[in-house]
């Protein structure tokens, strides 16, 4: 009896120790000190890259996978899955308008150091029911955790309405999305999620994360990159505009002059005979 108690204490101490060792910056990796999870996720994407062509009109990504386990399915509440897809982050400024001298002008601003340009969360059930807040803030899963640091001093009384506004505005544009129940999970073993990417996509290295949860706690994470890049004429124009801006400017002028002169010449010829 005493031996059993000592063993339990030892296990408790170990897990407590392991949790405190989780580095904040690298929260995506599971603590190495923890015992290997009994259930791990094996997953794949329908494509690991998205090409933005001239006729790009959004894209759909299928994320599928299975849960690998050596032991039978544990008792208790069922396994849950959360899938997130995240665009690279960039700094944004959120302005609040105020009426001054009759017109609405940008008055106060909160600068946010990093907010993803796109963030989608797909879950197998209601997010609040399957994820405990402390695990949410550790892995930054829900939409309100999408943005990170504030840049510079925060001059306003409370930054909360500003960050809420950012999430709300981006949700309205379809850039931030929470699709509860959109991950289908079969027999606590197979899952799939369809995440649609909007037409107004920016370039960069996107990140997909798949979380396995039990009792509101994350038991395993799988991370996979998605490379979103412009291709063809889109890529060529974009690179030229940023790498050779002067040449690009001259070229836009050339196109304009040629089109303006060419069209009037062509019409004159058409009209003459």
């Amino acid at each position: 009896m005493r031996g059993l108690l000592a063993l339990m204490l030892l296990v408790l101490a170990c897990t407590a120790n392991a949790q405190s060792l989780v580095p904040q910056a690298d929260a995506d990796a599971l603590p190495v000190e923890a015992p290997p999870p009994e259930e791990t996720v094996v997953a794949g994407l329908s494509s690991d890259s998205v090409a933005i062509t001239a006729s790009f009109d959004g894209s759909e990504i299928l994320i599928y996978g299975a849960i690998k386990r050596e032991t039978p399915i544990p008792q208790g509440p069922p396994l849950q899955v959360i899938v997130t897809v995240e665009a690279p982050s960039s700094g944004v400024t959120v302005w609040r308008k105020e009426r001054k001298a009759g017109i609405w002008i940008n008055a106060e601003a909160v600068r946010i150091g990093a907010a993803p340009g796109f963030y989608a969360v797909a879950t197998s059930a209601k997010l609040g029911d399957i994820l405990l807040p402390e695990w949410d803030s550790r892995y930054r899963i829900s939409l309100s955790h999408a943005m990170r640091a504030f840049a510079g001093e925060v001059a306003v009384e409370s930054a909360v309405p500003f960050t809420e506004a950012l999430v709300r505005l981006r949700q309205d544009e379809g850039l931030y999305r929470l699709d509860e129940g959109s991950v289908s999970l079969i027999d606590q073993t197979l899952f799939r999620a369809d995440v649609s990417l909007p037409a107004n996509l920016v370039e960069g290295a996107y990140k997909t994360r798949i979380f396995l949860l039990r009792n509101g706690q994350v038991i395993d994470v799988f991370v996979a990159p998605i490379n979103v890049r412009k291709v063809g004429v889109e890529r060529w124009l974009y690179r030229l505009a940023f790498d050779q801006p002067f040449l690009y400017g001259l070229m836009s002028l050339g196109v304009a002059v040629f089109a303006g002169w060419g069209a009037s010449a062509a019409f004159r010829k058409l009209r003459r005979p």
Binding site: S55, V92, T93, N106, V233, A256, G260, S264
Partner: protein, 304 residues
């Protein structure tokens, strides 16, 4: 057909853009205006970011004015010396304007200033055109009296007088320089050619004869907007060539039809229509400024 604009990074309907360009081209062919002052606000309405709308608008004006200036050079209705002085002022003004643009962008007020400029100028021009065309419509029934060629006013008494042979003027070099400067600033901030301001200023302020006014202003506009396009492209990478090409295709075709159509319709009635159109665009922009917005918060890229 949706098309993804590489610089604006938005996806829009290509036919909408060609149609917009065509509509504005039709206007410019019908009424002899550059159309920059219509295309930039229309681009705001369909969701192109203001900085890109302004820079690409300037590029579009180059296309629509270059064929006009070539026609005028052939007809010898360009005062190159006057055009050169206006251009010198315009280049300095454009440089100043791009600089002001940067500062406004840093303090987050660029959208407001661009919109305010549009409301004020479109309102003024629309009213003036409406008044003038109604007066012209009344006058056309009665025989009018001939006015004097031009009146000497205070601006002609400034120092450093220069002879402008094609315009038949011997005036100080400063008034045209200042006119060019003002137009250059507007070109950079609003993405317009500025013909709608320069033409009245050339006639009423400088006293230039009407036959060289349009050619000379087009000459100045072509070069100032070309310079503005390069400045925006180099400092902000905000010229979207895909967007410009679609607008230009619509624009040049529309302009040709506009010219043909314009020859068949009565000028006074056309002008009233244009005036009403300008006032409508102005009204829409003004409402956005005065009415309580749907959302008090706006998101701006970057933390400048």
């Amino acid at each position: 057909m949706q098309i993804y604009l590489p610089i604006a990074e938005v996806s829009v309907n290509a036919f909408t853009l060609v149609g917009l360009g065509g509509l504005v081209g039709l206007m410019s062919g019908l009424f002899g205006v550059g159309g920059g002052f219509l295309i930039t606000p229309l681009l705001f309405f369909i969701g192109i970011p203001p900085a890109i709308a302004v820079a690409t608008g300037a590029n579009q004006v180059v296309a629509s004015s270059v064929s006009g200036v070539l026609a005028h050079v052939k007809r010898k209705s360009v005062d190159f010396r006057m055009g050169g002085v206006l251009l010198a002022g315009g280049l300095v003004g454009s440089w100043l304007g791009v600089w002001v643009f940067t500062i406004l962008q840093q303090v987050g007020q660029i959208d407001l200033v661009v919109q305010l400029c549009y409301v004020v100028f479109l309102g003024l021009i629309g009213m003036m055109m409406l008044q003038e065309s109604i007066r012209a419509l009344r006058r056309s029934s009665k025989p009018g009296h001939r006015r004097r060629l031009h009146q000497h006013n205070w601006v002609h008494r400034w120092p450093v007088k220069v002879k402008f042979r094609a315009s038949g003027l011997y005036i100080s070099v400063f008034p045209p320089l200042l006119v060019g400067l003002a137009v250059g600033v507007l070109a950079a901030i609003m993405g317009v050619g500025g013909g709608f301001i320069m033409v009245p200023a050339m006639i009423y302020l400088l006293g230039m004869p009407t036959k060289v006014v349009v050619g000379t202003s087009l000459f100045q506009i072509t070069f100032v907007t070309a310079f503005t396009t390069i400045m925006h492209a180099v400092s902000y990478n905000t010229v979207d060539m895909m967007l410009a090409v679609l607008l230009i295709i619509g624009g040049v075709v529309g302009a040709q039809f506009g010219t043909t159509l314009g020859a068949r319709l009565r000028a006074e009635q056309l002008r009233i229509l244009l005036a009403l159109l300008v006032l409508a665009v102005c009204g829409k922009l003004a409402l956005d400024l005065f009415l309580t917005p749907d959302d008090l918060y706006v998101v701006q890229q970057g933390i400048g």
